[in-house]
Symmetry: C2
Subunit: 324 residues, 2 copies
């Protein structure tokens, strides 16, 4: 039996990934920038075992549905191909945060699974190869492989579509205060949503303008210029949701409380607090603020009716093995 | 003293007007389609009086702010120029619905003012000339001049930018059930908003696609095809709000309750009720449904927390004189 355990953080995208050039290989329509969320994690143990007759998956203590298992098997088939092995695996994965509601659980899940399964299969992959591998499981998972502030270069094919760190976690103490609006599993998962992106007539111009926004965001992080950061991050989030709500069928991930948080954040910034929002494919609102403001922002967020709790995270590290 | 009184209905746009080719003349970036709202109205009396030293305005029983008076004076200056008169006017205007919160009060106001002031000034204008005149007061006012279902052809200059009826009021008994979310005066009036349209990178493609949406909407009304109507109306509304929320500065007119209504409407349609939403530059939601469904839709809307009341209207007639 060959085994390894890895831990990975989810990430929050400041410049969003939405839509693919190649859905099978998950080559994205545009590059993206994110920050790993160090206080949230997925821990995944992989055991390749010659006695198994199929892959097995335990997710947060339970056997998940067939679709989740098939997705993991499809991923592990690729790992087995790379490693030249044939054993099935027992995969046990635990999250310390709610899955399926706009916090990218698939990102940390496939980043951890990539490192754990590659290691258990006897491979030692460099960071970009590991990022490319994770991308096949879930696009945004490639960004959870490197540490800190990360850019995913879109690339044109498997070989050049991977993520790398642009700044280490301690470059800027940005805190992600995640206002949890709903823990219901969302109706349209982001994998299906990506396929709808090109049905919106707004997607083309969103993609065409992406390199400008990437430059603005990278520069704002480099300079720790919160004002510039907030402008481009909120614009980029609204552009993605504009595409979503004009695709066919329409995707509207926002809940009433989502909007209440957006508006509160707008008021706070107008009143001088450096704070901005960004929203993934779900109703929760990621409220970003430099460290010194986070206690007040968290306290104010939790008082908004409909916000059930606030998850808090500092910038996080790269995917790593546990228990070596 | 020369006097006349006119009554006009506001209108709800199914294909929206947002942004101008020429802001001074209010030549719109794209054509639009609307329905007059027969149960809501503005009644406006105009008296040209040689004894006045400036224009006077009484709006819903009160003297409004200087900006409103200046806007009316600028409009009346144009009427005086056309009519070859120089007297100032006393304008008294009454609405039977709340102004300034997403129900187009400026549309019915300037449609009524156009007919009343032109008549009081001794002019007899044909419908397209009256529509062009109303357009100078407020773009969407040109659509409140003709009756029923109305199309505003964008045109390129003053002479060819006006609205005309495409179907009479009794062509299709669509009911507009307006869920009133807030009666607060909005922060950014639509006149200022139009100027921001081109700061969104999404405006160009919204405008470029408009003739396709106009065709779909006109055809759906012609065929009384609610399914096709709902699709294009909601898409068009979302496209406008996508432009708004990605302009610089961003405009987000939606309130939490706005979203609760959008989602309820989506559920009802999924469950078989022919119903759709459209939202102007404000938080209220116009919920459109064929007549037979309106009692149930109204009853369901008023039960949504945050909806303070529901205004209801059938299709309305053209602007007309009162008390002839």
């Amino acid at each position: 039996m060959k085994t390894a355990t890895a831990i990975a953080n989810p990430n929050i995208a400041f410049i969003k990934y939405w839509g693919d050039k190649d859905p099978d290989l998950r080559i994205p329509a545009n590059g993206s920038i994110s920050m790993n969320l160090g206080d949230l994690h997925t821990v995944t143990e992989v055991i390749f075992d010659a006695n198994l007759e199929r892959d097995e998956l335990i997710l947060d203590g339970r056997v998940p549905g067939e679709m989740a298992i098939e997705r993991v098997t499809r991923f592990l088939d690729h790992v087995r191909l790379l490693a030249g092995i044939s054993d099935f695996a027992r995969v046990t994965s635990e999250n310390n945060f709610p899955i399926g509601s706009g916090i990218a659980s698939s990102a940390s899940a496939f980043a951890a699974l990539s490192l754990a399964s590659a290691t258990a299969a006897g491979m030692k992959l460099d960071e970009s190869s590991l990022s490319r591998l994770a991308r096949r499981g879930s696009g945004s998972a490639c960004r959870s492989v490197p540490g800190g502030f990360v850019e995913w270069q879109a690339g044109e094919e498997d070989a050049n579509s991977f993520a790398y760190s642009i700044f280490p976690p301690d470059h800027w103490e940005l805190i992600d205060c995640i206002a949890i609006v709903s823990q219901e599993h969302k109706e349209t998962g982001s994998q299906d949503g990506h396929l709808l992106a090109e049905t919106s007539l707004l997607q083309e111009v969103r993609v065409a303008d992406a390199s400008r926004r990437l430059d603005l965001c990278r520069q704002a992080i480099l300079n720790r210029d919160f004002e510039a950061f907030a402008e481009v991050v909120e614009l980029d989030s609204n552009l993605m949701h504009a595409v979503m709500m004009t695709s066919q069928p329409k995707l509207l991930y926002w809940q009433p409380t989502t909007l209440a948080v957006i508006q509160a954040v707008g008021e706070w910034r107008k009143n001088g607090t450096p704070v901005c929002f960004t929203i993934d494919a779900g109703p929760n609102v990621h409220v970003i603020t430099p460290g010194e403001n986070s206690p007040r922002v968290i306290g104010d967020l939790i008082q908004i009716p409909g916000v059930s709790k606030v998850l808090v995270s500092r910038p996080g590290a790269a995917v790593r093995l546990v228990g070596d």
